[in-house]
Every structure is written in structure tokens, then in C-alpha cells.
Symmetry: C2
Subunit: 290 residues, 2 copies
Amino acid sequence: MVMQIIRSIPDMQKTMLALRAQPDCRIGFVPTMGCLHEGHLSLIRQVRRLGCLPVVSLFVNPIQFGPREDFSRYPRPFDHDCRLCEQEGAAYLFAPSAEEMYPSGASVFVEETKLSGGLCGAARPGHFRGVTTVVTKLFQIVQPHVAAFGRKDAQQARIIAHLTACLNMPVEIEICPIVREPDGLAMSSRNRYLTPVERAQSVGLVEALREAAGLYRSGETGAAALIRAMEERLRQQGLLIPEYVAVVDYASLQPVETVGPSTLCALAVKVGSTRLIDNLLINAAGETVL
Amino acid sequence: MVMQIIRSIPDMQKTMLALRAQPDCRIGFVPTMGCLHEGHLSLIRQVRRLGCLPVVSLFVNPIQFGPREDFSRYPRPFDHDCRLCEQEGAAYLFAPSAEEMYPSGASVFVEETKLSGGLCGAARPGHFRGVTTVVTKLFQIVQPHVAAFGRKDAQQARIIAHLTACLNMPVEIEICPIVREPDGLAMSSRNRYLTPVERAQSVGLVEALREAAGLYRSGETGAAALIRAMEERLRQQGLLIPEYVAVVDYASLQPVETVGPSTLCALAVKVGSTRLIDNLLINAAGETVL
């Protein structure tokens, strides 16, 4: 089947509503900002594995970027992204313009008020409001049964799961594992901003998380001790400037003192002008999942 | 067909999604806070006229009431409302509890930022955020093709039409005429709060709007002159305390200086502890519509 590229909201919505009316069709949606890497492709594979028809969106969402962030330089290799989607078997690619998504006069925003304040939300005011607004719009347009998000953006994934529950959207949220480079660096479209020296030092994020995982597995359950160890490991790379190093409950995203099942260790650093995040989940079974 | 009453969100959503998958079924939704009167019934008739299966919700939405407003005393004549819905041919009645709609931990709100600040929004901070949030939730649960709202709440109707456009909800918004008592008072669930003396004086709202309509038809196009005339007419009833008397553009809800097609004259008054609103639309053809 040839992948269909759709740029207009009414065309996309009409096509998706017609699909949704077919008895056995389940729509599996992978919203992206493009510049696709193996992490995104794993999401497409996951919705296929769930028996869904894969639908991908490519949209660099202006309202989730702050005024000093990288919206204008965010990479947009459209043809390359199309090829990757088609290779992975995507049936539809939705690629609207910013004017199509936010015509002049647009004035409705969707806001999450409890999970959005800390971690990345503290350093990026308005970021998650932009995310929850665009995801709500995309869900209305694409009408998915399932939507897949990567756990690399753990706070985003939790907020979106909570968004769909709070607004009663009939969409299952599938949170998928982090995909990593051979040396452990979490895949990110922003990794391509890194100079060779910055790239080499960036492995410090996952190494800090590995330290925390090792400490926990050896019996340490004090959040303060894990935070200290992660900060120390980050400090060994001169170019990594920590924005936050946090140990939180995976459901509430509130800081915890004692580490255990469903604890998330999350990091954000600046490397030169590039912002990188990563996290370690201690899952419900108490296993450390990088 | 016997009307089905559903109280659980998952049951309602499942039922509505199954209906929505039927090829020729169009869902016509009438969201209400109950205490139904002829105004609400006209909305049910209108969605039937459009060939839709009528679905009504009864839910007194706590988050659209301010702390000093009438949430707790708002009338809830449930059995009477059920009978009226059934008589009008409603197929489904959705009547969730407040705990069902807002479980503890609910933290997502939908906010309109341009049309919501003036008129009723100025006196009722947070009111329209409550309205846009509950309507978004209800639309996700009921999955309507069409939803009907009365023009008595003109600002609400405009905000909801804009909400669905901004968030790309696949719902047509049908704004229906005001239904009035024989003496012209706009029907409202809150009219039953009025003492006989207050009830008699409340006709001043529509009479003020009739003054404005008469002035416009006789050639007056100055908004200030219409406002003066409406205020004067209200003043003749000693018990009507104006909250606002406004002449605005019907699309933007911004004040205009010159009255013409698509102008809205809108009033809010306090009568004792009861708040009443009413409006006059000068439609696109330049006709005055009470």
C-alpha cells in the first residue's frame, strides 16, 4: 500500500472518520515533530504490532517552544522522514502547516495543572500547554484508537495519558521504551545539534542513570543518595550543565524520599546550546529500566 | 423507543461509539444542566428536525459556578426532566455524578482566551473555563455529529462554536432561537428563583432590548445611544441592578461604536439574588431578532 500524505485538516479528518467507521479498522497514531530516528520508528512498529493501521503526523508545533528555544532551527528533513514512514508501513502521513493548525484568531488552549509544573515544565513555561493543546487537536483530527509516545519524554507521556483520562478521550496511550545509541545515549532529534566533543560527553546522562540503577540494585533506597551520585557523575563531564536531577513518583511526578517500585529518576542538562533529557524507570516490579 | 438513562462514562461512551459506527446514524446532542423548560425542549426538537438521534445530558457542572454562586441551590428535578426528555423523543439521557465527571486528581482544563473575558466572563471569573472543559469532556463521551445550544447564552454559544473550531472537533454547533414566556421574558431555569414582584419587573430586560431594536429600526446606529436607552429602560424597574449593558460584534464579542448587521446587544442584571441575562441579535441581514 502506498502511503498517503495529507496536509489539510478537513481532508485528514474526513479520511480518518471514514476509516473509524469501518468495523475492523483500528487507527494507531504516532504524533511526531519529524526528524525521525529509531525511537520514532519503534513507535510505528509498536502500533502495527497492536494490529493498528499506522498513521504518523509530522508537525513542528510552534506553541510548545519558548521564545528563546530552537523552533526555527529545529530540523525538518521532510523527504527523508516520508521515506522512513513509508518503509515502516505507515498508511497515512499528516503534515499540516502551522497556519493550518493555528489560524489567526485561534484562542483555545488545553492545560494540565498538576503534572506540568515540575521537571521540564519548570524550565520551559508554557511548553506542556503547547503539547496538550496540539495533542488534543491531533486526536480530534486523526481519531485514533491508540496513540504511541516514547518514554524518553517521560513527563510528556504521563501528562498525555492523564490528559486523555481527564478529558475522556477514547484513545489508549501506549508508552514505549527508550531507544538508545550503541553507547547508551537516548535517541533524540536534538542529538544532531551536538559537536563531536559534546556528543562524546553526552553519554554522561545515561551513565549517571546507570550509577543510580546500580546503587538502587545494591540496596540504596534514599533518593538523596541517588541524586548525589547522578550529580557527581554528570560533573565528571565538564560540558554537561545540569538543569535538574530528580527522583519522583512515576504517577504523580512529585519528588519522593524513598526509592522503590514506580520511581522515576529524571535528568535534564544543557550541553552547549543543546538541551538533553533522559530517565531511568524503576517499574512496578522493582526492575530498573533504562 | 424507550429512553435509556446512563450514568457511567464508560457505558455512555461505549454506547455512543457503537452508534457512531452505524452508517446512517447521526447523534444530535443537547447538553443541559437539567431543570428543563421550553428552551431546552426546542433544542431537542431542533436536533430531531436535523434528522439526528437526540441525546440529552443532565449535569449541573460544579466547575462553572463561582464560590458565591448558586451551585448548591440550583434546581435538580430529575424525574420531571426525565419525563420531559422522554416525551420529546430523546433516545438517551446521560446523567453522570460530579465524582464521575471530576474524579479526585482531575487536572486538565480547556480555556478560551479571547471571547471569554468580557460580558458574563468579566463578572464570573472561571465560568467559561468550566463550560469549555465540561463541553469538551461531554463531546468526547457522547461523540455527537451535531450539538445544540440556545442563543439566550449568546457568549457561551459563540465560545463553544469557537472551541470546536479551534480544537478541530468534528461537531456542528447549532445555535437556536431564544424561547420566551408570553410576556417576553427569556426562559431560564433561574426564573423560578424570582419572587412575584421580581418576576413582574424582570420583563424590563426584554423591554430594554425592544427599545434598542426600535431605535435601530428607526435609523439610530450609535451604540452609545442604544446603551443609554437600554440603561434608562432598566432603571424604570427599581429592582433590576444592571451588571452590564453592552453592544458588541457577534463574532468577536468586542464592543462596537456603530450598530449594524451581526451586532449583539446583551444585558445582564441582578434581581435580588438572581442573575438574569438576555440579548438582541441584529442578524447578518440586518433584522432585529429577540
